[in-house]
Subunit: 383 residues, 2 copies
């Protein structure tokens, strides 16, 4: 419609606020300068409440995948068994990382679109008492399922000595990190999802117990967290960091502080509720149950009346709206709406209205405005 207007509603990367762009446009500074040390000391401190920890949070110049690889290779000795909950493409990636690095890997497979039950995890722990770590996905981006990490972590600690490693890439910044409260041993996230930054940074924090596992001899030089730990003591990074993105971290954390973290988390819950109410009002099937639903991404299933990829393609061409499709076994079968980071209730209404118009054009029998109205009702009931 308007040539260069775009609406990025994929579950990452997400839109970058103008304030953050301005911050990233600040003059470049040397990464060994006192100005950088001051900035980095500050951002490293600001990440702690977002992670829900008093432990240091390390900043890696790399995507989330690298930080996930660092999480396991730094804390689990080579050759030891790990359990990975696989309930979607990112659980699968976490397992691939382990297998690639030679860990005997037990995959606890869960139907895509459901969360793992703490009871199933308990049984798996009992079948594999030699597992040294349990790898969980906080929010499975590929399905829009949020796992009950607190309960799962409790089970692990109750039935084993295994470390709890959590992939929080597609939710941290939008939901509580709760790392200390839930006794998570490693929590990882990336910059480009609920953290409102461009991709390029990832963040990882270790419990004292996980920290004690660090050695100089980790498989990878670049991902050896011992080096990051040593350098963070001088408010530095071991290798040249993505300075402009770190200038952005300061600004996003300031924005979250101004909004208050509690409100950030409530906003994400509200956007989830609005999205789900809108989709349900249109008569479209949601992939996940109310209980499993993610505050950052919602998956909608195909029906006999429309193909998700056709809808996505039409909305992209006509409005510049980006929705995500399904991955791997869900390819072509769902579309996903990202509602995290720099996204507001009004953005949800806009998104739903475009989806309605797209469906209508594809001949789906829906009533225009009905999804938007249902979402509005959720909004007014909740403010």
């Amino acid at each position: 419609m308007l040539q260069d207007q775009t609406f990025l509603r994929a579950p990452g990367p997400t839109p970058v606020p103008d304030r953050v762009k301005h911050a990233m446009n600040e003059p470049m500074i040397g990464h060994r300068s006192p100005s950088f040390a001051q900035l980095f000391a500050d951002t490293s401190e600001r990440l702690k409440p977002i992670f829900g920890t008093t432990q240091p949070v390390y900043t890696l110049t790399a995507s989330g995948t690298a930080a996930l690889e660092a999480a396991v290779t730094n804390t689990v000795p080579k050759g030891e068994k790990v359990i990975v909950v696989v309930a979607g493409a990112f659980g699968d990636r976490f397992a691939n990382i382990c297998e690639h690095n030679g860990y005997p890997t037990h995959r606890l497979e869960v139907e895509w679109g459901r969360s793992v039950s703490p009871e199933d995890l308990k049984n798996t722990l009992q079948e594999h008492p030699d597992a040294k770590a349990v790898l969980l996905t906080y929010n499975e981006t590929s399905t829009g399922v949020m796992h009950p990490i607190g309960e799962l972590s409790e089970k692990v600690h109750q039935y084993s000595e295994a470390l709890v490693l959590v992939d929080g890439v597609s939710c941290i910044g939008g939901v509580p990190g709760n790392m200390d409260h839930w006794n998570l041993d490693v929590l990882v996230t990336g910059s480009q999802k609920a953290m409102m930054l461009p991709p390029g940074l990832s963040f990882v924090s270790l419990s004292k117990r996980a920290e004690a596992k660090l050695t100089d001899g980790n498989p990878s030089f670049y991902l050896n967290l011992k080096a990051y730990q040593k350098q963070l003591e001088n408010s530095m990074t071991p290798y040249t960091p993505a300075v402009s993105l770190i200038q952005g971290v300061k600004e996003v954390s300031e924005m979250m502080k101004e909004e208050t973290l509690d409100h950030v988390f409530e906003r994400h819950h509200l956007m989830k509720d609005m999205t789900r109410a809108g989709i349900k009002a249109l008569g479209l099937p949601l992939l996940t149950s109310e209980e499993d639903a993610s505050p950052t991404v919602t998956s909608v299933k195909e029906t006999a009346e429309f193909k998700p990829d056709e809808l996505r393609s039409l909305l992209s061409k006509q409005f510049g709206l980006t929705l995500a499709g399904g991955q791997k076994e869900l390819k072509g079968k769902i579309f996903r709406i990202g509602h995290m980071g720099y996204c507001s209730p009004v953005d949800i209404l806009t998104t739903l209205s475009m989806i309605e118009m797209g469906l209508k054009q594809l001949g789906v029998e829906i009533e225009l405005g009905k999804g938007v109205k249902a979402a509005q009702e959720v909004y007014v009931q909740n403010v």
Copy 2:
């Protein structure tokens, strides 16, 4: 003087042109979208002439150190011997990467401030006929020495079957890559030096011979170049890339194309000549010989009259000028002037004039303006 004026003349990170900032401020796009594929196909193609190759150039979301680790771990089987030329802190880092990854590593140590002689390399090759790779630093950032990579590569190919792996981090984009012409097997660079971008990306290209060594089983999951190779065929990256920086790659390559690569290289040579002429005219000792001198960074030695770190500190406070100090064994003994990327002959005059005023204030007996004048003379003789 002017509160927020800064002059970043460190050998990386370097200033980012406004045009590039604007490009990086473009709306975020999904990394699995056709728009990204189009952008990435374009930037990957644009990097080839900068590398001097017709081979693919892979883009990693990580610092140069990660790409150097990828260079060796992807092309040299675990346990095989490597020769590393160590003539400064970055040769030392390249060797550390090898040692960390368990390669038997022969360090060919060269006095810091000098280039390695092709004859010495030949002798080392003959002493270590079992070496599977020779690791070279094109431009040693810590000393300001440029090694004769073409000649060195020729020696390696003449006397052995070893691969030639080259760290071009602090010069590619400012000097010819010449990868194909010199038969380099791996060439690596980073975004934050002569490439005029913020840090956060690194680039690596492999000869056909090196490419044939790629396997799925590389030690690191994140740095497995096979995955990058497969995805580049779809104009994608295997893991979420730093999209905004890649938007910047397009712009910097466009700027280089407009200026022409030949002129970019000439400008760097001219800036080197101006800097050296200015420093010599002030009677200060240069660390490197004319023959070894780097087009991207110049090191100046201490004298009885001044301490480099005092000069740097004064210039930083008074003018916002960032110069680099010495590293490791040169700590406190030199200062380094970066003249690469978004840096012009006029910037060299400004830098020299500030250095003159700083030296004067420290009581060094110099004639104000003499260095600037010598540099101006070089300029007018060369245009």
